[in-house]
Amino acid sequence: MSDDEKASSRRGVLGPIAGLGARAATATLRPIVGVAGAAAEAGLSLERRAVNRVLESDELERVVVVAINSVHIQAALKQALESDGAAQLIDSLFDSGLIDRFLERLLASDSLWTMIDEIAGSPAVTAAISQQGLGFADQVGDEVRARSRKADDWMERAARRLIGRQPKALPIEPDASTS
């Protein structure tokens, strides 16, 4: 008897036994798998509920604030931002042309210009600009007035010195607390 024939006769005997074993194992494990699946489902649901609760709680906000205020985290962030990796990341971002494309698309957008027109034409913005202009004019006016008053005194003193007359006494500055 050749080896092949021996192997096939062995498979013929063991095959049904193996099938029987597999079926028995499947039947035995089915409840266990079912229970495990249900447990996993319950676990996932619990996890989702836990995450939702954490997200809705004030604790998360507090943790985030504490984390942001943390000296260690700030130092780590600073270190990360100052690192070569961050610089390379920024370089690669610009090299990729993504920002150029973004700007091109943004500038080509009619909505952007409509929005800019709306903002520029809004009464609040025009009022703010005119107010700023007036404020600047006031500042210039104040400066010119102050300098011209000084020039008045200076010219008067110089003229009086020129003709040999006693310069006029300067006025006493009014006390701010009494005015």
Binding site: D138, G141, V144, S148, D152, W154, M155, E156, R160, I163
Partner: protein, 189 residues
Amino acid sequence: MSSGPVAPWGEVPIGAPPREALSYVGLATRVVSFTIDAALITVVDVVIGVAAALILSLLHIPHGLRTILTAIGAAAFLIGSIAYFAGFWSATGQTPGARVMQIRVLTADGARVKPRRALLRCAGVILAALPLFAGFALILFDSKRRGLQDRIARTVVVEAPGPSIADVSRAKKRAIREASRQPPPALPE
């Protein structure tokens, strides 16, 4: 800087110091004020002159008439300038330039300058300018900082502090806003 108190006419604007604190204004401030006025007059005259020249260029005008028109233009410029100063001095005591510099022309006793006196002051300005502006140099030596024109017209130039342009604009806007907020008066039944 101050050479003595004066009692200016009219209302003292909100935020202005008391009348006793007002003082006479010197030469430099008055020169700046006059420069602003001169610039304003020049701009207006240039605009009018260019417009008149454009209109006249469309018409065929003989040479003699052109000379007469030029003389009329010069006279109009002089009269306009005098009217500008005399009008503002007698109306509010302040030309636009004086308003920017916060100064005011008053009579020696602090009253409003009347039109006749304002015209006299204009003549005084011309007289003061004729001898190489020597008439204005008197401002440097006079105890009340009066020039020749002030002595002739018996006027003084004093400080007239007032609210700034931005303050006025803000106050106007606030008044408009408050007026729009108030409910309309109820109609009689």
